[in-house]
C-alpha cells in the first residue's frame, strides 16, 4: 500500500471510530428522556437534548430542526431513527456552535449602554423578557439567582461570566 493510500485508510478508520463515538454520545443523551425505553422522546424535550450535546441553536433554528424530524402521526413524538442521522450531521458539520466567551462579553457590553461595567436588574430583565427570543418568568428568575449581586441589585457581567465558565468546567 502506498503511503498516501495508507493515510487515507487510517483516516477512514479514525472517522469510523469517531462516528461510532458520536452516535453513542447522541444515543445516551436521547435515552435520558426515553422514559419507556422504546426509542421515542416527547418533542418538548428535544431542545434540551440537542443543547446538552453542545449545540446552541436559537429557538427559531430549533423549531426548524424539530420540523425535520417530528413524527407526522401521531404528532408530539420524535423517534431515534430519524433523530440520530440528523444530529450526526449537525454535529459533524459543527453547526450551531456554542458562543465563545469574548462574544458573550461583547453582547453584554452592547446592552450596557451607559458603559458602566454592569447592568441594573431592570435593564437585564427588560432585555431578556422583551427583546430577542424572550425568557419565560422562570428562566429570568433562574438567571437572576446566580447573576444578581443582591447588595447592589446589579449584574456585574464580567464576574458573572467568569464564574459561569468555572462552573462549566
Amino acid at each position: 500500500m502506498t503511503p498516501s493510500a495508507c493515510k487515507i485508510k487510517i483516516n477512514n478508520l479514525l472517522n469510523k471510530a469517531g462516528l461510532l463515538e458520536l452516535q453513542k454520545k447522541i444515543k445516551e443523551a436521547f435515552e435520558v428522556f426515553d422514559h419507556e425505553a422504546n426509542d421515542t422522546v416527547d418533542v418538548r424535550e428535544i431542545g434540551t437534548i440537542i443543547r446538552s450535546l453542545g449545540c446552541c441553536p436559537s429557538e427559531g433554528e430549533l423549531h426548524d430542526l424539530i420540523a425535520e424530524v417530528e413524527e407526522e402521526e401521531p404528532t408530539g413524538y420524535i423517534r431515534l431513527e430519524k433523530f440520530l442521522p440528523m444530529m450526526v450531521k449537525v454535529l459533524s458539520e459543527r453547526r450551531y456552535r456554542p458562543i465563545p466567551e469574548d462574544l458573550l462579553l461583547q453582547a453584554f457590553e452592547v446592552l450596557d449602554s451607559a458603559k458602566e461595567g454592569f447592568l441594573t436588574k431592570e435593564e437585564l430583565v427588560k432585555y431578556m423578557t422583551e427583546e430577542g427570543e424572550p425568557f419565560t418568568e422562570e428562566e429570568m428568575e433562574e438567571m437572576l439567582s446566580a447573576a444578581l449581586d443582591p447588595e447592589t441589585n446589579t449584574i456585574q457581567y464580567r464576574d458573572y461570566l467568569a464564574m459561569m465558565v468555572i462552573d462549566e468546567n
Binding site: 421515542t40 437534548i49 440537542i50 436559537s58 452592547v110 446592552l111 430577542g132 427570543e133 446566580a146
Partner: protein, 638 residues
Amino acid sequence: MGCSHSVHNETKKSEKAMKAAVLIQNWYRCYKARLELRRRQALNIFENIEYADEQDQMQLAKFFAFMLEHYVKNKSSADNLPKIFNPEPKRKSDEETIISLIEVPDTYYGPRLKFPLTFADVVLLIDAFKENQILHARYVLEVLLEAKKILQQMPNIIHISSTVSKELTICGDIHGKLDDLFLIFYKNGLPSGNNRYVFNGDFVDRGQNSMEVLMVLFSFLLVYPNDVYLNRGNHEDYLMNMRYGFTKEIMQKYKQHGAKILHLLEEVYTWLPIGTLIDKKVLVIHGGIADNTDLTVLEQMKRNRMRSVLMPPLVPAVFDPRHGHFSHELPPPAMLAMEQLTKYEWDQIVNILWSDPRSRKGCYPNTSRGGGCYFGPDVTENILTKFGLKMIIRSHECKPEGFDICHDGKIITVFSASNYYEEGSNRGAYLKLSHDTTPRFFQYQSSQITQAKTLHERVDIVENAAFRILGERMIIRKTNLIQAFRKYDPNDTGKISLSDWAKATEEVLELHLPWMSLCPRLVKTIEDGYVLYNMGFKDLPVVRAPKVAKAGMVETLVRYRSDLKIIFNIIDKDQSGLISMDEFRAMWKLFCSHYNIDIEESHVDQLAHSMDLNKDGSIDFNEFLTAFDVVHRATNKL
C-alpha cells in the same frame, strides 16, 4: 438630513441590542439544558434503584411462601406457625381496654385531643406539629381507633359527585412530607365542607413525618367524614412500612407503645377504601389498572382481608403460567384462623395499587416493581368503555413536574411529594376538579433551602445524592463485581476496557443505566480508556461490620438488610426484639438456601455468638443488623 440619519442610527442600535439579547438568551438556554440533562440522569438513577428495590420485595414474598411451606411440612399443628401467617382476628373490647390503660402524664405538653374531634382540635394538632411536637401514643391510638370505625362503614369504592359550588381537590403521594401537606393547605385552604379533598394513597414511608401526616389526614377524616376521602396506596401496608421507614419512625417516636400502634395501624390500613368514583365518570385509584380489572369484583370483595402485598393468599398447588412455576400447597383448613381473599380478588387489588401506564399497547407484568402491570392505551380505552368512565386519576409514580397526562388525556398522574428523591429533584402538584370542566393543576416545590440556591447548586445536590446511592450499591456487591471484571481480564492485568466495565457492572447490579458515562464519575482510576478495577473501589463508601465477620457474609448481610429485618420481625413471636440462637440458625439456613447464598455455617455461628451480648442465648436482631452498614467516608454519615 439629520432626521433620517438619527432614525437610522436608532434602528441600527436596537438591531444590535436585539442580536445581543438573542446571543445571551441562546447561551443561557444551552447552559440550562446541560444542567437539566444531568438532573434527569440523576432522577433516572433514583428511579431505577427504587424500582429494583421493589422487585426485591417479590423475592421476599416468595421466601415467605417458602418459609410457610417449610413449616407446613415439618409441623403438624398451627401452634408453631409464626403468628404473622395466621393472625387472630382482634376483639373490639380488647383494643379499647388496652388504650384506656395508657396514661398521659402531666408532664406532656403536646396537644391533648378530645373525642369526638372538632375542627379546633385539628388546628391545634397542626400548630403543634409545626412546632415539631409529637402526639402522645394514647391520642394516636384513639385517632386510629376512631378512624377505623368510620372507615369500616365505607364501601370499597366511594361514590361522590362534584358540584358547582364545592370544589374537589385531589392530591397524590405524600410519603411523610409534612411540609408539602402544609404547603398544599396553605395554597388551597384546609379541608372543610366547602373544600373537599381526595388523598390518593401513599401517605407514609420515606419522609420523616409519616405519623404526623397520617394523624392530620385521619383527624380531618373524623371531622369531615363526608368531605375528606382517603384511598389506600401500596405503602399503606405494614410490611412495606418495615422496609421503607414508617415502622422505624414509629418505634423511635413511641418506643414502648410502638408495638401497639403498629398492630392497630396494620388493621386500619386494611379498612381504607381502594378507590373513589366521581360522578360515575372519574375513577381515582392509587396505581392503575390491568386488562382484567373488574369494578364489580372490586366493589364486592371483603377488602379488609388484603393485609399485605407480601402475603398472597395460599392456594392449592396450581401452575402459574406468568411466573412459570407451581405455587405452594394449602395448609389444612384448621390451621387458618382468618379468612382469605381468593387469588383472583387479591390480584385485582394488587393491580389497582401497583400498576403503571405505559405507551406500549397491551398488559404486561410490571417487571420494574415486581408487582402489578404495565398497561397500554388500549387497556385504558377498554376499561373506560366497559365501565362507562371518562378518565382515571392515579398517583404512584414520581414525575418531575408533579403531574403527567398520558393515554390521550385519559390517564392523569398526580404526585404531591416534592423533592421526593432529594432536594431539588422534582415538583409536587395537586389538581382541582369542578363539575364537568377539565382538571386544573397546581405545582409547588417545598423547602426554604431550595429557593436560596442557584440552578447549578441544586443540580449538584441531586446528582451527588444519586451517585452516593450508586456507590453504596457498588460496594455492597464488590465481591461479585470483581469476579465479573476478572472474566474480562484473562491475563490478570488489572485493567479492563471502559465498555467491558460497563457491561460487567450492568450484569451484576442489574440496573440499566448509562454506565459508560457514569464510570468516570464513580471510579477515578481510569487510564487511557482502561479501568483499573481493583482500585476502583477506593473512592466509594465503606462497609462497616464487626471484625469477626467474613467479607462474603458482610456483603450479604448489608445487601439483604431490609429483607432480614422483616423476616426477623416475623419470627419474633412476642415482638420483644430478640430471637433465640436456634431460631436465628434455622432462619439463616432457610434464607441462604432460598436465595442461593453460599455461606459457611461456622461463620454464622461465630458471628451470632459474638452478637449475643448478654450471653443468654438470644440475639437483639435490630442491633445485629445495625452493626452491618454502609458508611460514607467524608462525613461518616449513613
